[in-house]
């Protein structure tokens, strides 16, 4: 099992969700994050003082999947999250982490079938 963490453009969320449900990945956890990547952030000015905010609003998806679902999930995210065909700086990243175990609180089921 893997835990897939993806950081995407907020405006792409709907499309990514759509792409995911096509590969039958219907369960995920989402949170608002701030991103700081190669993408040039603006330098904000507050009261005449510069604040360097390369921090941009992003959305993070956390998706626990069984191994066979990793590739479909990744490509679904890429497909849904890329701006245009060539993509654009700021489109984000996907991280794949090993997942030792998964428990469903409701039933107490463990492992793959709990995902």
């Amino acid at each position: 099992m893997k835990l897939i963490i993806a950081v995407i453009q907020p405006s792409k969320l709907e499309e990514v969700k759509a792409a995911l449900s096509e590969v039958e990945v219907v369960r995920l956890t989402i949170m608002d994050v701030q991103g700081f990547g190669r993408q040039k952030g603006q330098t904000e000015v507050y009261r005449g003082r510069e604040i360097s905010v390369n921090l941009l609003r992003k959305v993070q998806l956390q998706i626990a999947v069984n191994d066979e679902f990793v590739e479909p999930t990744v490509s679904a995210i890429i497909q849904g999250g890329r701006t245009g065909d060539s993509g654009q700086i700021g489109d984000g990243k996907i991280f794949v982490l090993p997942l030792d175990d998964c428990i469903r609180i409701r039933t107490g089921e463990r492992g793959p079938e709990a995902i």
Partner: protein
Amino acid sequence: MLCTLQKQGWLMLLMATCLSLTATTALPNVTFAQEEEAAAEEAPAEEAAEEAAEEEAEPIDYADLRWEMGWTINTLVMFICAVLVIFMQAGFAMLEVGLNTSKNTVNILFKNVMDLSVGVLLYLFVGWGIMYSGTDSPYFGYDGPWVSRDAQMADDGSWEAAPNDADGSPYASSGADFLFQVAFAATAATIVSGAVAGRMQFKAYLVYSAVLTGLIYPISGFWKWGGGFLDQQGFQDFAGSVVVHAVGGFAGLAGAIVLGPRLGRYVNGKSVPIPGHNIAFAALGVFILWVGWYGFNPGSQLTYDGFVNAEATTYIALTTTISAAAGAVAAMVFAWVLFGKPDVTMALNGALAGLVAITANCDRVSQPESLIIGLIGGVLVVIGIMLLDKMQIDDPVGAWPVHGLCGVWGGLATGIFGDLPDGIESQGDFFFVQLKATVIICVWAFVTMFILFAVLKAAGILRVSEAEEQQGLDISEHGMQAYGG
């Protein structure tokens, strides 16, 4: 001066203001004289119809206590009403902020602050002089900047400037009048900011705002309230369903069309709603607007003294209240039936719809009629929102459905339900007059603003880049986030 304004926008603005300082404040007095003449010339033509004109013939006894108390009350109450209308700016700001995404909050707030600030200056220098130029021309006139003073007494107790009067009845000070009028201008301007939210360059907005408050609104305003041709044809628009709200609504529509929808609002033909980020702000805004409307409509009675005027003022407040309530209920029920859930944003828009619709006729409809007008307004706004959505026109806050569509409804409702004004024989004629004038004003606002926005687009300063829009105007335009730690 104004075409340059269109081109270089706000920088001009400041210079203009400074330059104008040279303008002698004597001007207004000349003006005052002009008005007198104008009135005088018109008088014979209308003798029969208006006793008012006659009275004006007789010299006014300013020593008369009744007169002085009336003038005092009119001036002070108009001032208070002006304050209420100015408060509406806060309502618009909260409403528009609440119904848009958080990444454009600073931008919207800024636009609203500037609608009022730029609006005051432009209206002071240009708009006021156009709208109440007292010219004989039924179409256009201008008599300079600044507000004339009145009720100025010389040391010997004689009048340097006589108290302002309307058709020989105690009126109010020009200062109160200007405040009241400029608040209306700012209202017309700020309506648009909601329709074009989330994608328009700030610079371009400032230019738009200056042009609307300085030129477009005052010109059509003159046609009716300045005594222009629409007024002469008997067109009735008590507090501006058409003159103010429809102008704003159709200007907004033009903006929304020329700009095109926000990114992701319509993906391959499918409508993807972009919900507001703070409904509490939106509701607060509507409550404030509702309250402010008690300055907007009753205040438009303009003279409040004496049994009849005072009663009329509060009767207007009554019909206004009934229509607002009816609009909110109707919109809620209608949307509930249509979509299966009661949608508060619809109810809020419904209340505004009722308020806009009654604005033109609050003085001349019965209570049951005000109820009907509000109910229909509440239904219309829901339909209008769906209509825009079908046509894939992106109006984030529903400025057109509320102010444009219901503004038109208000204008027409006046012809359908309203008591006949002097000189109009049948309800049919009345309706036709209303229809014609309403169309003229809406077309005027839509076309002129369409051109302006198109020019700005051609100049490439209308819309922000894709990247900037995605990032949000707060950061891309103002380098600031509205919310933080």
